[in-house]
Amino acid sequence: MVRIICRCNEVTVEEIEELIEQGITDIEEIKRILRIGMGPCQGRTCLPLVVSILARKTGKSVEEIKLPATRIPIRPVPIGILVGEMNED
């Protein structure tokens, strides 16, 4: 059964639940292990889902779960643009 949480790195609900059951409940640590939120969507879809799974499995309230930092660039940008225009001549 494939229930995808993170489309970028193809992480499933079961994989996240398994980690939480092992006692890993720090969203940063889950991120490092499963690489959720590290793909091109930068966690926009998956992180809220992970937060809610964490809350459900640990009995914590969502308010208590700290979101990982949002860093620049807040959307993926081709490197070439950051240095200026993309003219090749």
């Binding site: 494939v2 970028c8 949002t70 090749e88």
Partner: protein, 478 residues
Amino acid sequence: MRLNEHPILNFDYRRGKKVTIYFEGQPIEAYEGETIAMALHAAGIWVYKTSEKRERPRGLFCAIGKCSSCLVAVNGIPNVRSCITLVEEGMRIEKQVDKPKLPRDAKPPKWKDAQKVNADIIVIGGGPAGLMAAINAADAGAKVVLLDENPMLGGQLVKQTHKFFGKREQFAGVRGIKIAEILEEELKKRENIEVFMETSAIAMFQDGEEKLVVAVKKNKELMEFRGKAVVVATGAMERMIPFENNDLPGVYGAGAIQTLMNTYGVKPGDRVLIVGAGNVGLILAYQLVQAGVEVKAIVEAMPKVGGYFVHAAKVRRLGIPILTRHTILRAEGKERVERAVVAQLDDNWKPIPGTEKIFDVDVIALAVGLRPSIEILHQVGCQIIYARELGGHVVCRDNRMETTIKGIFVAGDSAGIEEATTAMLEGKVAGIAAALSIGVAAPEWLNEIEKAQEALNEFRSGPFGRHVLEGLKKVVIK
């Protein structure tokens, strides 16, 4: 499949010149002004690649350039987001079979410094909140720049064929698409507003006394906007839910489906199951019927319709069942959705065995809620808290929409999920408050803020608004 007739929309008017693009060598007819993904979908191409780890088919998903699902190679350049890249005559599009390789000999780009634009107030987002913020800030005397990542102004309004609620002075009884036109016209009348379309903000910083908003225009030019205040009106993101095969092509967000059919006149599929009977799901069902698409059912996990009853009544009388206390168990299909399996829920939100129903559909529309798009506010360091009533994590702000960072304002769905009507009112408050905070607006403008605040209070005084007020208690500071 393209829509040629529509009871509300006129696509002939919207479509540009016919062009030919090539997908894996096959010629495909497209129209200037539409994105690659739309043209491919119209040609019946739903699968753009195979995922790497689990080798699953991938196609369109968010349709707004945020997920990674629709990447293709265009004219040899990999990783092009097909959902936000416009077609061009002769474009060659290839499936991305593997991760890209670096060419051995590429020339470095010729670089020049970022284009710099200065203004009093920078408005990020050209939806209902951003447009109203810009218009009001300009009227209050500020020089305004507005940036929006889409090719057209209006945000989600441009997909809304239904008429809005509220008071007539707040555009009640007017269709969303029309409101977008009206606001755009108002915007264009004002010489002290400069608009940058297809321009995505990628970062915001405090730069001395000023705010610096870094953006990328048309995915190829770096821009630096400097202003004394910023209004963030970046709208919302759609929520996903986990169910088996929720990544199959054909499982689309409601917004993606609206983009397909209402913005580009592309039929999203033939038979649809909608998940979620909030306003988005109900309105989507009606819009699908208007586009000539069969809606098999709407499933809703709650025991009641979450959106406005009148929206539900509109689709019920057209024969669309609403299955409350039901959820989707799985999507089925090889390359794309062929069926959806739903089941009834018990009091503990667990599916009841034996209640499974199978729907023969090619699209599963997810309308399971929105959450505020707060990335840029989070990145710049505004205080964030969680308020379920407002759709998730939101920024703290005062009653004039100013966040915990002085000079940074927020409005609309990015300040908490509500309605276009409240978004416009909040935009007005934020726009004027920003102009007042930097000292360009005359003090009389305070009256306008108060009027808008009264209108907001009035709008929120009913049972739907009470919920929002609960959320606002948590986020409104001072």
